[in-house]
Subunit: 222 residues, 2 copies
Amino acid sequence: MRRLYHQPFDPLSRKIRLLLAEKKLECTCVVEPVWERRETFLALNPAGEVPVLVEPEGRPIWDDVAICEYLEEVYPLVNLLGTNADQRAEVRRLIAWFDKKFAAEVSKNLVGEKISKRFIAGATPNSSAIRAGKQNVHYHLDYIGYLTEQRNWLAGTELSLADITAAAHISCVDYLGDIPWKDHPGAHDWYARFKSRPCMRDILQDSVSGVQAARHYADLDF
Amino acid sequence: MRRLYHQPFDPLSRKIRLLLAEKKLECTCVVEPVWERRETFLALNPAGEVPVLVEPEGRPIWDDVAICEYLEEVYPLVNLLGTNADQRAEVRRLIAWFDKKFAAEVSKNLVGEKISKRFIAGATPNSSAIRAGKQNVHYHLDYIGYLTEQRNWLAGTELSLADITAAAHISCVDYLGDIPWKDHPGAHDWYARFKSRPCMRDILQDSVSGVQAARHYADLDF
């Protein structure tokens, strides 16, 4: 059986879980406490980070980019990168937008401070980072609204890894109740469509001890 | 003519310059002062970051991952990603190693503190970050030595984007004289082979005002 080593509130791991589900590829998901630096995990990935995908009788694959490209190459039936080089460039641009820009400006400041830091002994949330994250998120939700005014999904007519990547980040922040949906109807409509997809079912059941999910987190009608 | 918007000491930009040169693709390189947030550049890439590649009559492509994958798809004659999905996963794993791990542990601490900060008004180098970078680099040079004991190039028999990515980072740090070559003969031999490739010629002529290049920086016999 295929195995994915992951962290439930790591957006890069969520991206892979969503991608596997969209491609209807079965997988055993193993939560890896990366901060313990377990020797058996370091033998799989000397970088010590998740997500790591292990195919039956295959070599472990890290990082998220390598896993996505691998799954697209080996299981192309459900295509999530686009059908020509220009389309794929646009999908990958938006993946970078969320995995680099949204990650640094929003996810790190909110999910990093409020969830990830719980697993680091002695670490306390930085309130000015949290404030910055709450402010920055507006700009990104506006950008989603702007894109979906012109396109059916973020990168074009078809659902793509751009939507999956955006939803991976936004769903983590939404667990915390930090997405101001009322101010961003365009982004809300896009997320409502994505949230109702079967690939989101597992994600919407995630929880972390000590941090309660926002009331609407798993609600399809939010 | 193809144009690349870049920063000379940004390892992600150097990676693209090296890739273009290995593929023998001509390109006009334009240094973009990203900190000025020029409107015409933001129109090309709303994320405001380099590298951005603009093909003749093509849409601008950002980020480095999107550019690399695009160039591999559209100009496959010189293959730098590998010939099957497993090989490509290994190449991409090592790209991530250098662009994420080496970048965070070494490049950011040394190139970021000593060069990039010169362009930010009022910023001063953080000496403890510099100390950490100088310490961390040993582990990565050991890893290069370990890999090249078993393989001709970092990811296997053939030169790949893994070597290009590693050299992009290491050449920036080497400009500063912060690569302890004498302690790492395996990494030294690998870099000596890479450094003598024609793709490195431009890179070895880069300079930044106020920071002198290490004496051996452009020397092929170092």
